[in-house]
Symmetry: C2
Subunit: 336 residues, 2 copies
Amino acid sequence: MSDALSTQIHLAARPDGWPTPDDFRTVRCELAPLAAGEVRVKNEFLSVDPYMRGRMNDVRSYVPPYALGETIQGGAIGRIVASAADGFAVGDAVLHQHGWSDLVQADAATFRVVPETPGVPLSLRLHVLGMTGLTAYVGLTAIAQLREGDTVFVSGAAGAVGTAVGQIARLLGAGRVIGSAGSAEKVALLTGKYGFDAAFNYRDGDVRGQLAQAAPNGIDVFFDNVGGDHLEAALDAFADGGRAALCGAISGYNSETAVPGPDNLANIITRGLKLEGFTIGNHLGHAPEFQARMAQWLAAGEIAYDETIVDGIERTVDAFLDMMRGANTGKMLVRV
Amino acid sequence: MSDALSTQIHLAARPDGWPTPDDFRTVRCELAPLAAGEVRVKNEFLSVDPYMRGRMNDVRSYVPPYALGETIQGGAIGRIVASAADGFAVGDAVLHQHGWSDLVQADAATFRVVPETPGVPLSLRLHVLGMTGLTAYVGLTAIAQLREGDTVFVSGAAGAVGTAVGQIARLLGAGRVIGSAGSAEKVALLTGKYGFDAAFNYRDGDVRGQLAQAAPNGIDVFFDNVGGDHLEAALDAFADGGRAALCGAISGYNSETAVPGPDNLANIITRGLKLEGFTIGNHLGHAPEFQARMAQWLAAGEIAYDETIVDGIERTVDAFLDMMRGANTGKMLVRV
């Protein structure tokens, strides 16, 4: 087998509703000889994230849709195996956005060398120390303007972003943290390992009623990863002046038709609520501040995390679909 | 007829859907002799406003619901006919919130003496120079953070708030102002007298399509008085980073059941939108700044307005219902 053989997963067709394996194609190709300024990287971990589903559609968004017949782009981390660029040495760990392949080669400027800290696994750069953690931090601070003592509700709280939101909210002074998740085991994890004050299983139904019970005095901040019935429940539970950071709406990502929204939007007016959506690419200026704080929290043992790891690039699509179905706890990763 | 006979309109029952005359009761009563510190005021104009419909329901809101068997509260202006309070002279024009009656008597502290300016009718204190104008100003500035060059869309633009929003947006530097209204005559008024760049009749249907045509480059600011299909259309039309000031949702005020929301809330995330609801009572701190600017604009002839006046307190409920149906252009007032 050649040292230059790359296995890549391409988008073959735009999914209609739930993606199927037919929407993807595994392509093997021989990489060209390394050109000046390029590096070749053997990936160790690939990230599969909910937002990727949106990029598979051909709709206008802050980030352009994935191109058909090209490798699915996204966060990945690996090591340099060949370099023709100053400042990039063989063996360096690098973070990048080239996505779903085992071997990738490109302009060195598209890779970022990351320091390796004893006790901090490289994979954390793809979640608590990376975009996932930054998303949680920015949503709580810049978007939802979290205040000391606030009651915070996080939907889809056992996922990669959700577990970070609950813990960061607590570290930033939230008075009460509530989460929803899709199984009794995840609910137990939230109130145990992750220190949530209350959690409930949304598959038991009646999200409105369960949230009302968990937040008898209402909520001040809502960090939404789910949308749909969760947004509706939050709108009912909000205290006056409440703020929502809308980060994701996974409940609707695989709908084939447009789904009507909550029936209680009038509460936005009568309670003076603020709902703000965000995609993390527009808030990268907060990264240095976030990374400094998160490194301290990790070193002090104040941040727990989980990884659900799937082995083998050939299982990347399965890992993505399982993540969309909620099979993961914490961050879903593919180990190449 | 006694000088102390007051005709008052009370809430008799909480309306279910559209209010009917049976939900109100006209009560005549003899006022008590004037106590120390009180004034007696003969009203000249009563305000009928969309928000009053919400206060007829027994639901939680920033403002408490109207009490059954009491006079409907709201803005009114009149003149003092008897005074037992220092600083309040017979003949003074006073603004107050005692609502739907022809003669009202209460603690002088609940009335505000307003200066009379030649050429500025008293009734303006109930709209462009009052809460209505302040609502438009606060929504555009403090809530939607209007910027120079923004394209602004106002729903229900021919109403009292809407006509003020369009003109204030222009005066504050908006690049393009678009409005919707419920008749061809109102549309003509918007693009004529009120200087809107484009307007359409929402009763022609396809609000999404009509807005897209009026705003080919999208909208930056949405000032919503209507909700429902208008909010949905705006969410489709928003440019990245768009901001909505949600002021009213008259399309749903008389629904007997909860109505599902827009089917495109996901745009809030992908376009990084901000939706904020407000009720003017929480933003009265902007009143001095607003009144100074509006007085200048009025003096310079830069603000047009309309009043739809109904004569006779006995027609107040009819005026209120007609306003809810959109029979008014500009401010709907009852002349006592």
